[in-house]
């Protein structure tokens, strides 16, 4: 008859057995093998990490690596933000500085704190302007003024919002504090506008001075131009005189030829008249641009020529 074995009996049967252990000699031998292997593995790992794989792989195999990397990132990020705090217009970190201000404003909950923060922002814009002046970065003044104006407008907007909210809530103390901030802000705005006006006046004065200087320079330049013109005129007068002399010589030659060849009188007279007209025109043209003395000289020159003709 088959005996039915219960589950408890089966379990007891299984647990009853004692399995053989490892042979002590073999165990000791294996231990030595493992020890030498452990030394090799440790050395190989260190060498692989430090020499072959470099510091980055060693860092990534380090369990502390995520913490180290996170710390470095946080510190570098915080460093950049801190560095951006003193940024001025024209700096690389200046947009970050402004973004951080906006973020801080967004995270400011209390209305009073918001108003005070905006006042600080305006003060910082003015401080930036002063620093630019001390560094003599004239090209950035315009941008700085624009930034200050924007900050003032923004501050006034925020202040009016906050003021209305506190009035609705009937929070007297906060309202008074905001009013105080508003007064300071107005003072800063007035000072900013005054400075801009003074600068504009200075600029106008500078422009006027420059204009006057330019006028004086122009006058000096004209004088120098006149002297140059007179010398040129004298030179042209000499040239005209030479030309007249040549013309008269040619006329004399023509008249000699007419006398000798007895050509028809009408044609000659026409030629003579034309030549005389031409010569008189040329003389008048030449004399018109020259001094009167030159004309008189020409006239005397012409009478001398006539006397020579008579002698001929």
């Amino acid at each position: 008859m088959k005996k039915r074995i219960s589950q408890d009996e089966a379990e007891r049967f299984i647990r009853k057995a004692s399995f053989p252990n490892m042979d002590p000699v073999a165990k000791e031998r294996t231990k030595q093998v493992l020890l030498s292997a452990h030394v090799n593995v440790t050395n190989t790992f260190d060498q692989r990490c430090i020499k072959q794989r470099g510091i980055f792989n060693y860092l990534f195999s380090n369990p502390m690596a995520p913490i180290i990397i996170a710390l470095v990132m946080i510190l570098s990020g915080a460093g950049t933000v801190l560095a951006s705090d003193g940024a001025k217009p024209g700096d690389i970190l200046y947009p970050l500085d402004k973004a951080m201000e906006q973020t801080r404003l967004n995270f400011t909950i209390s209305d009073q704190a918001k108003a005070e923060f905006m006042l600080k922002v305006v003060e910082e814009r003015q401080r930036e302007r002063t620093e630019l002046e001390s560094e003599q970065k004239n090209n950035l003044f315009e941008e700085s003024d624009k930034e200050t104006n924007q900050a003032l407008e923004h501050a006034q907007e925020v202040l009016s919002e906050v003021r209305v909210r506190q009035e609705e809530q009937n929070n007297e103390r906060a309202r008074e504090a905001i009013e105080e901030v508003g007064d300071k802000l107005n003072e800063l705005q007035e000072r900013h506008q005054e400075r801009i006006q003074i600068e504009e006046q200075n600029e106008l004065q500078n422009q006027e001075q420059n204009r006057e200087q330019n006028v004086e320079d122009d006058v000096d330049e004209d004088n120098s131009d006149d002297s140059i013109d007179s010398s040129n005129a004298n030179r042209s007068m000499d040239q005209d005189r030479n030309m007249n002399r040549n013309m008269n010589q040619n006329q004399n030659i023509n008249s000699d030829m007419n006398q000798n060849g007895q050509v028809s009188e009408g044609d000659d007279s026409e030629d003579d008249s034309t030549s005389n007209v031409n010569s008189s025109d040329e003389e008048s043209n030449d004399n018109s641009g020259d001094d009167q003395d030159g004309g008189e000289e020409d006239g005397s020159g012409g009478s001398q020529d006539d006397e020579e003709e008579v002698q001929n």
């Binding site: 088959k2 009996e9 007891r12 053989p20 490892m22 493992l34 452990h38 030394v39």
Partner: protein, 188 residues
Amino acid sequence: MKDKNGTEDIQKLVQEAQAGDSMSVTRLYELFSDRIFRYLILRVSHRETAEDLTQTVFLEMIRSLSRYKKQKDVKFTTWLFQIARYRLIDHYRRSKTVLPIDELADSHPELQVEPEEVNVDPYYLKIKNVLHKLSEQQQNIIYLSYYEDMLPGEIAEITGLSAITVRVEKHRALTKIRNILSKEHLSL
């Protein structure tokens, strides 16, 4: 039967071994070598092969120690038995002449390699014969459950099964053992 040791002590030893302490490695080997050896000898039935495999398992442990992290429920013991199981699978794959025990017992009884057992518990031989009639999976589950006192969840991590499957397979294995014992009239 078991080298009982506190979990904290083992974790401390593991951390020291990870830091490169040879003494901790030696201590871990002393604590776990017999347990791994017993798990392996049940499967390969050959002392020297089991000793070689034990050495391989601990060498692998040393190489992989840097990768071991104490996660949520992964104990060092579980992790070490996982290595032992994989080395056993490798052993079966490489030595084509040596077939898995369950296959060997079922289909090739003439090829079954009997180890030279000297001064062994007669009960052990009886139980080994019974266990060898189970499937590989069931042998694993029974051994780890009754000789290593592991919970179904821990066995599931080692064998790659779900905890429910482990419970079901354990129940099936026990039923099978009961049938074998009943059939063969083995004295309890």
